[in-house]
Amino acid sequence: MKTMLAIISNALCRMTGRNAGAQTVSEGARVVVSRSFADFTPQATFDIKKCDLHRLEEGPPLKAELTRDQGLQYYRTMQTVRRMELKADQLYKQKIIRGFCHLYDGQEACAAGIEASINPTDHLITAYRAHGYTYTRGVSIKEILAELTGRKGGVAKGKGGSMHMYAPHFYGGNGIVGAQVPLGAGIALACQYQGNDQLCVTLYGDGAANQGQLFESFNMAALWKLPCIFICENNKYGMGTSVERASASTDYYKRGDFIPGIRVDGMDVLCVREATKFAADHCRSGKGPIIMELQTYRYHGHSMSDPGVSYRTREEIQEVRTKSDPISMLKERMLSNNMASVEEFKEIDVDIRKQVEEAAQFATSDPEPPLEDLCNHIFCNNPPLEVRGTNPWSKLKSVSKT
């Protein structure tokens, strides 16, 4: 139908001699008549779900504005994360990735929405389901996949693996459930100490929400009014335990007690964006911490060793995929508002597939880290030291490059 309209529209352009403007006709669009950009709606306003509020008089707005460029960017980000995670799934099944691998597909709107509303100079820390955030915080697909496959081209030179990837203003990637939350509060303390108007986004899951150290962090963050956005990504299951079986209260946005909270539709990137903007303003204005609960869903099991169907039904997973997929939702919104064409999305998909494929190629062909690297980076800015190997005659060298 849309292609039909495109053909008619362009034919009309030619007939009326209307200047269609600069066009780039890509490979994939050669056989299809592409529409001029002047035909697309540059900006539209969408209704978004109202957020439940805790200790707040007002919440995020009920409407979100989206420009064409933003929409395409969010789409690209989410689709990249999706394809990257699916590629990781494939590589894991081929045994090229080993150990832990916790995939993020289904939750893309969270990472994309958050990044859309904070600055690159803000800080972010999360738990082990971290590949999406590693990407949105600036690490290339290549470096992420190569870290998963344990190669020297990985972002942590193959030393960290899935749960230990880092970037400027991104503190991983943390394996111990809940441990990242006190760290995040500490980063917020540093922001306050340095008076740099930055904030820290500290993420955790519905499982970690029952950890004691979170409540210690809430106490200190509220006491000292730290610029910290605590975000609970509630994907309904802590490993194989549903939220109803784990938590006396599943209102995670209220668990901060004296800290105000918002419950957000985590499958809608615009909802996440508006809520995060609201939260960021709250923090930056000196009001102290705030909690966001993002209601989201993961398609994969807890990790690659979990098929994910012994504690939930396939029907449930399928229902979320068909009714609430974050990428489909955004795409449909844009298409039905004439903000982009099907071909454009296809082009983006093709481009992303190509990038992910190239990254996977790199990740499978790049050599493993050299053995000389085994003992390096135990310390930072340290003179070289000797490290005991597996036996007394094995004396290994450790250097720390800055």
Binding site: A156, K159, H169, G172, A179, E216
Partner: protein, 335 residues
């Protein structure tokens, strides 16, 4: 009086308690680098549970000296250089996951991208009458882990010089103090009084030269070893006393050099024997060139392998006494 005054003027030495030495170290480093700050229970308005941070809050204020709620200190501080005080290291067990998994391992896991320039300090080991849950020595626990530096000062110069080095180090340092030493005055040389005085982490010090036996110790028991040496010298036994100063990385070379001279080695520590500092020294000596110089097996003098009892007589017998060191030296020398 006049004699000591003359001595003072001649040598420039002053007497400083360990507490004041630690205080001076922190004061100087807080002044030198505004990224340094201190946090812990009661460090600010209370002047420190053991008064180690006395006066610092008045001087530097709320921003640099932070009272924390009872919540063992565990924070990542992007770009800052925190000193985290544990009221005692027994409480550090609550935060030990952060010390090991978030602090110690991070530089390695990130291949050098993420440094953790943090100092964890506080009293370690037995005190007096504080019973089982407040008396454990954590030297062996922390020294087991790569990615940490573990320091254990004895006297005031150690305390000041090593704490300054620890604060300036870009890596996580576990700084094990001793509550019973806080109030003990030691001489401090003129050099040590300077604001730039630091002692390198990873180097031991020979506190007393000797020829018959090497005594290796850390923290409070260095003093006990010197006392034992003073008694033994009357019987013609000359002990060389080594103050480890750093547990990890351990200066094994200094121990070996001494052992190759004396042919006998006795380790002295307050911690439990199994998997402890002395055990590590034994293993390292066996693996190195000094083994062939041993005329008898290494002897370990340690705390008794029990939780610390409360009653004074029991507590006294749970830890090495000077007579235990003397006894062990004589057994080692077979005299």
């Amino acid at each position: 009086m006049a004699a000591s005054l003359r001595c003072f003027l001649r040598s420039g030495k002053v007497t400083v308690t360990v507490r004041d030495a630690l205080n001076q170290a922190m004061d100087e480093e807080l002044e030198r680098d505004e990224r340094v700050f201190l946090m812990g229970e009661e460090v600010a308005q209370y002047d420190g549970a053991y008064k180690v941070s006395r006066g610092l809050w008045k001087k530097y204020g709320d921003k640099r000296i932070i009272d924390t709620p009872i919540s063992e200190v565990r924070r990542r501080h992007a770009g800052l250089r925190p000193i985290c005080e544990f009221m005692t290291f027994n409480f550090s067990m609550q935060a030990i996951d952060q010390v090991i998994n978030s602090a110690a391992k991070t530089c390695y896991m990130s291949a050098g991208l993420q440094a953790v320039p943090i100092v964890f300090r506080g009293p370690n080991g037995a005190s007096a009458g504080v019973a089982a849950q407040h008396s454990q020595c954590f030297a062996a626990w922390y020294a087991h882990c790569p990615g940490l530096k573990v320091v254990s000062p004895w006297n005031s110069e150690d305390a000041k010089g090593l704490l300054k080095s620890a604060i300036r180090d870009d890596n996580p340092v576990v700084f094990l103090e001793n509550e019973l030493l806080y109030g003990v005055p030691f001489e401090m040389s003129e050099e040590a009084q300077s604001k730039d005085f630091t002692i390198p982490i990873g180097k031991a010090k020979v506190e007393r030269a000797g020829t018959h036996v090497t005594l290796v110790s850390h923290s409070r028991y260095v003093g006990y070893c010197l006392d034992a040496a003073a008694v033994l010298t009357k019987e013609g036994i000359e002990c060389e006393v080594i103050n480890l100063r750093t547990i990890r990385p351990m200066d094994v070379e200094s121990i070996e050099a001494s052992l190759m001279k004396t042919n006998h080695l006795v380790t002295v520590e307050g911690g439990w024997p199994q998997f402890g500092v002395g055990a590590e020294i034994c293993a390292r000596i066996m693996e190195g060139p000094a083994f062939n110089y041993l005329d008898s097996p290494v002897t370990r003098v340690t705390g008794v392998d029990i939780p610390m009892p409360y009653a004074k007589i029991l507590e006294d017998h749970s830890l090495p006494q000077i007579k235990d060191i003397i006894f062990s030296v004589k057994k080692t020398l077979n005299v």
